[in-house]
Subunit: 387 residues, 2 copies
């Protein structure tokens, strides 16, 4: 294992009915901004539970945070927090709402153009932040137990990541009952998101991290095992809980400890969302298999381990096992009714590879991935393979 | 999964040479008590590294904390901390030194007979504690990343556990290089300790916790895989790191989330240490297999899963698989040169079962274990099987 530092102070409150514990976890006397998305929480009862549990606090609501949250939308919330002297943020939603609230946390006390927090990485150095907690409504991104976030500037279609140890939620409430009311599309997205997060930290090169590899494999096995069942029966709270906890564990910092990580799939895929508005998880399903194909030689040892341990492939040469493992991955995505070609999502896609090339070049991304090899040209070729 | 809450704020600093980071992790200007054990750190260079790294602080040393740390010894350190107004404790040692420092943390500001902290569970309610960090010198107990501890009152041979969320270390430095200088006996003890910690949270009944089971199995697999190699070559820092991280992960709170736990092996085994002074890990190796045999019917589903997944046993009835799995466990302990019978450690052992019966009865321990079935009589029978 490589050297590492790890500290994750988020308190997880897991289980059915746990939303009632909000009041004891928000600091007494706080003025609270309750942030949420498109309003599905008003249909599935979560909104009512949150309002009931926080009635002893002064609450200001801010709804309408969109998927891939926009800087422009979030700045409206920043103004409200400043005007009303709000001192605690409660994110009620999935990764987009939570990521958005991490931006709010950073931006409220920032003196300057708030986009600098993201574009110039100023968020990491921002000392005065607004504390926040979350009620997770969609298992997928892991944002509920990590300190990273992604926001998009709609005006320029720039999708950017930021983070820092000050952006861990104070607490996150994980109630598996929320899965019951999710559209199948979002459940499938959540499974693919968690699966790909795991792969980004696992499918690199052989580095002899016995335990870290096996923990990653635990999450992959669990997701594969529960995926068809939870799609079929999202109201099964046991399965929903396994799904929820797997998604959290996939990106709470444990998998990355002491191991090389890739993340090139994510960086390419973010551009597909920015350019075509495709769901984040689906862009991962489009890019990941082709990135594995393109970098098969570099990743061969781990592809073989993945094929053997996860998919039980025992026959064939290393290359054949690797190929089969990639095909199994694609079939897994298809089994969740997730298409894996860009042309199945976008009509005018022919210039996408060139645009990704230009965007990588503009930002001087010459060496992403565990071997620092994925630059504009490789990204372009991977996108072309994904048409 | 059952409902749970989880928060673990300990910062882990892992890797070779990380002791040098002490100064940036101890609060500036602290008056520090440096606590350690029998002095092995003066031979293996750790003492010198710690002294070098903390030279900007006012340090008071307190050596001589024994294995299964004694209340009586620790109270001497409490007096020194009070006299010198020390405000930070640095534990340099294994689980005994770290557990001892958790007691110091609790006792310094306690007003009353300090044994009440342990015997009457007052530690959990103690608000004013002294912050502490650790430099781990012996992978085994997981105390470096949890908030529990065990101390012994020598006068009465009472070995007691206590804990509370205020007893997480502020930080723990895990340098795998420390394993190189450990006696084989201590490496073997550490492996068995971590293995049994995992089993206490895994080998219960089938509760459908896919992910939690698989993470526990990850640790068991890793320990089995590295055990002979790390015994053979403790200077291999890669193997030592896997061992160290496995021991930490085995008892940092993650395995217990949402699952039933047993811990009856530990509670019986503690009495063997109290009565006969046998190494903690060795008492676990004596008791665990017989507890599994005695409770085979209750644990059959998990014994079979354990046998199949960990030991690859595919043939036979459920009962045969369970029996073989227990035998494999015993063989694993023997492969580490750890005896598994009480008579191999103690001469006058014939009254042990009766004494354990009485001790369980005195403390009204009528229902330990995942089914709350292990009381004085079962404990007695398990100890008798262990002669």
């Amino acid at each position: 294992m490589n050297n590492f530092e790890f500290k994750n102070p988020t308190k997880i409150i897991f289980g059915e009915g746990q939303i009632a514990k909000l009041a004891e976890n928000i600091p007494h006397g706080s003025k609270v901004l309750m942030a949420y998305g498109g309003g599905s929480i008003k249909k599935n009862g979560i909104y009512d539970q949150v309002i009931e549990a926080t009635k002893s606090f002064e609450i200001t609501e801010f709804g309408g945070i969109e998927p891939n949250p926009h800087f422009e939308t979030l700045m409206k919330a920043v103004e409200i927090i400043r005007e009303k002297d709000i001192d605690f943020i409660l994110a009620v939603g999935g990764g987009s709402v939570i990521d958005g609230c991490k931006f709010l946390s950073a931006a409220v006390h920032y003196e300057g153009d708030e986009w600098e927090l993201v574009e110039q990485m100023k968020a990491r150095k921002q000392e005065k932040v607004v504390p926040f907690g979350t009620v997770l409504t969609l298992p997928a991104t892991g944002s509920e137990m990590n300190s990273g976030a992604v926001v998009t500037k709609a005006a320029t279609q720039q999708k950017r990541t930021f983070g820092g140890p000050q952006y861990f939620p104070q607490f996150s409430i994980l109630d598996p009952a929320v899965v019951a009311s999710l559209p199948k599309r979002q459940i499938a997205n959540g499974i693919v998101d968690a699966f790909t997060h795991t792969m980004e930290q696992y499918l690199t090169y052989d580095h002899g991290a016995y335990l870290q590899d096996r923990i990653a494999e635990s999450i992959l096995h669990t997701l594969i095992e529960i995926a068809p069942k939870v799609m079929e029966n999202p109201a099964d709270k046991h399965l929903a809980g396994e799904f929820m906890w797997s998604a959290t564990m996939a990106l709470n910092g444990i998998l990355r400890l002491g191991v090389p990580t890739d993340w090139a799939t994510h960086m390419i895929a973010h551009e597909l969302t920015a350019l075509h508005g495709i769901d984040h998880a689906r862009t991962l399903a489009i890019i990941a298999p082709n990135l594995y194909r393109k970098l098969k030689e570099d990743k061969i040892e781990k592809l073989v381990q993945y094929g053997r341990r996860i998919w039980g492939i025992t026959e064939g040469s290393k290359e054949e096992i690797a190929d089969k493992a990639i095909e199994k991955t694609v079939s897994f995505f298809h089994s969740l009714e997730i298409d894996t070609k860009l042309s199945e999502y976008a009509q005018n896609y022919e210039h996408t590879a060139d645009e990704v090339f230009n965007r990588f070049k503009e930002r001087n991304w010459m060496g992403l991935g565990e071997r620092q090899k994925v630059g504009p040209q490789l990204a372009k070729e991977i996108v072309e393979m994904s048409y």
